[in-house]
């Protein structure tokens, strides 16, 4: 009931009443909500603190960006069949990995599958070697940093420093048209609710209970007959693909994708969203993403230099005073209030 009401409000009412300039910003928030769910799945439920999820988000975004570049082939500044940055580098031919991206379905599948395969292979080595805890966080952080450096190179073929931008159309609709932006917003809302339902199905299944058990007592799960490596790998790969979905929806709404999206700090921010909202609760993760990003939008406009300090202070405060995040605080206050009202009057 509550969920349906929220879905209706976010997906239908907001795009009807919100001013045009606000729609892409809110759409961005929805994408961050999806990323937060992905992060919560892997950190809150499986206890794997990844500090590299920004990479999967960005890779999903690059997949969408490649489609948006290819679909306007011949309409760039140089009127070439190649994307502008390739003309600029004096490339004559499309690199092999750009083939097929003029097709929207292919590009969407690749946006999810490529990060998924990367996560699967990387995760397999990581979990098989029984890397966990702070070491895992460092390894994932290093992975996204290495990818940032790779994508910064012009020779990598992804537009280097500038990334991919100057998008014009998606599926024939102009990206500058407010109507298209509203549709992208609605698509993000649907994706967010789909992701929420999927995550809820996973965490309430027996698999979800096994994953939480692996988080709490991995060796015991192995002695119960569960190959914990496979469980971690499943949840890790699923989470990476959901993050990529968020990135693919994010790019047409902000109009650019470049290697700064993979910077280690972005991944750390994702962990902060989840910590603020409440680890291990799906609603909390989304709430945290919205509140932190709302604060960021407001503060970077009002006091641009203060944002990083505020973010750091927020993280320290949440770690010290709100180990269960805002949702944990809410339920604590709620139970206190209930027990007070139950007390007989004296």
């Amino acid at each position: 009931m509550l969920l349906g009401g929220a879905a209706l409000l976010i997906a239908v009412v907001i795009p009807l009443v919100a001013p045009d300039y606000l729609v892409p910003l809110l759409g961005k928030f929805l994408c961050f909500g999806i990323a937060a769910l992905a992060m919560d799945l892997v950190w809150g439920y499986a206890g794997i603190l990844s500090l590299g999820h920004g990479l999967f988000f960005a890779l999903g975004g690059y997949g969408m960006g490649m489609y948006l570049m290819r679909v306007i082939a011949g309409e760039g500044v140089y009127r070439s069949n190649l994307p502008d940055f390739m003309v600029f580098l004096d490339w004559k031919q499309l690199p092999w990995y750009w083939h097929g991206f003029q097709s929207f379905p292919f590009a969407m599948v690749m946006s999810l599958v490529a990060p998924g395969v990367l996560a699967l292979v990387f995760g397999w080595f990581m979990f098989r070697s029984r890397i966990r805890g702070v070491y895992l966080s460092i390894v994932t952080q290093a992975l996204t940093y290495a990818a940032t450096l790779f994508f910064f190179q012009n020779a990598a073929g992804f537009g280097g420093n500038n990334g991919l931008t100057d998008f014009k159309r998606i599926l024939g609709a102009s990206l500058h048209d407010p109507g298209t932006r509203k549709l992208l917003y609605v698509a993000s809302a649907i994706a967010l609710f789909g992701t929420y339902l999927l995550c809820r199905f996973v965490v309430t299944s027996r698999l979800g209970r096994v994953v939480t058990a692996v988080r709490d007592a991995e060796l015991k799960t192995r002695f119960c007959g569960y190959e914990s490596t496979n469980y971690k790998l499943f949840i890790w790969t699923l989470s990476a693909m959901l993050c990529a979905l968020a990135g693919a929806l994010y790019v047409p709404q902000v109009g650019i994708i470049n290697p700064s999206e993979m910077q280690p700090s972005n991944s750390i921010e994702m962990a902060i969203w989840v910590a603020v909202g409440g680890r291990g609760t799906l609603g909390g993760a989304v709430l945290g993403a919205w509140l932190v990003n709302g604060g960021k939008s407001w503060l970077t406009a009002a006091l641009p230099s203060a944002w990083l300090y505020a973010l750091g202070a927020l993280f320290v405060a949440v770690t010290l005073f709100l180990p269960d995040g805002l949702v944990g605080l809410g339920s604590k206050v709620g139970s206190k209030f209930r027990s007070k009202s139950l007390r007989p009057p004296t």
Partner: protein, 274 residues
């Protein structure tokens, strides 16, 4: 020595089948577990040296020995947590060597283990703990769509009643008292329905009454299961043991019925100390 409530068994006085020579496959159809020449070294420290141990089907065996004798290391080797330097472990008449398999594969083959410190899934309810321990296929995708069958629900209810936690089914396992956690872990072992149970210090932190119930439960499990109990409490060992194996400095020092072990001068010297 006077009041030992040992149930007399017909094979109590049989000579101990302890030898380092491999037993031919045909001669050991009755064996539940067969540990052969197991040696483990940790940084030069010999935790186990050429340990050979045979367990008959349905037997209740107590494993005793002073601290550092290698009892837990032996359990670690049998369950796949520690890889031995040499030697092998066989389950029933299967020819697969357990020391080459992963922990979960060994669990699937039918060896259950209770840890020294009670280890339950803290964040889950008592009921969910039993559910997770239930026997069955434990692949990722099967688990994603798994639902409890009526038979499984009945089984969990039976186990909860047996371990006396039926009123705590919905309680978070992390909130249970120490003794209750021990019981829950034993219940989880039962849910797993293994053929061999390895139980490390089952009565640590239990009250006298709980200890008696545990002894009763372990005795009732023997027969249908093969049970190995590691315990320090000699009173408890006397009350349940039929056969006892004494480990000392990584070697099998003695093996036999409790009455015989207690009289063995070597055992008295290193362990019983009385």
């Amino acid at each position: 020595m006077s009041a030992i409530p040992v149930t007399p068994l017909e094979d109590d006085d049989r000579p101990t089948p302890i030898s380092s020579a491999p037993i031919p496959a045909a001669a050991r159809p009755e064996l539940a577990l067969w540990v052969e020449n197991l040696s483990v070294t940790f940084d030069g420290f010999k935790a186990l040296t050429e340990v050979t141990l045979t367990l008959e089907k349905g037997e209740l065996r107590c494993l005793i020995g002073p601290n550092g004798a290698g009892k837990t290391t032996l359990m670690d080797c049998i369950t796949g947590k520690t890889r031995p330097d040499s030697g092998a472990v066989y389950l029933e008449s299967r020819m697969n060597d357990l020391t080459k398999l992963s922990e979960c594969r060994i669990a699937e083959l039918g060896i259950g283990r209770k840890f020294q410190r009670p280890t339950v899934f803290q964040g889950h309810t008592v009921y969910e703990n039993c559910e997770l321990a239930l026997a069955g296929k434990k692949g990722v995708f099967r688990t994603l769509f798994a639902r409890l069958s009526a038979a499984e629900r009945t089984r969990i209810d039976e186990i909860l009643e047996l371990i006396g936690l039926q009123d705590h089914a919905k309680r978070q396992a992390g909130l249970l008292a120490h003794g209750q956690k021990q019981w829950l872990e034993i219940g989880m072992l039962l849910a797993q329905a293994p053929s061999v149970l390895l139980i490390d210090e089952p009565i640590a932190g239990m009250t006298h009454a709980e200890t008696e119930r545990t002894a009763e439960l372990l005795r009732s499990l023997a027969g249908a299961h093969t049970v190995v109990v590691v315990e320090h409490d000699m009173e408890f060992v006397r009350s349940i043991a039929r056969r006892v194996t004494v480990l000392h400095q990584g070697k099998v020092l003695a093996e036999g019925p409790m009455a015989q072990i207690q009289k063995d001068p070597r055992v008295v010297e290193v362990y019983l100390g009385v």
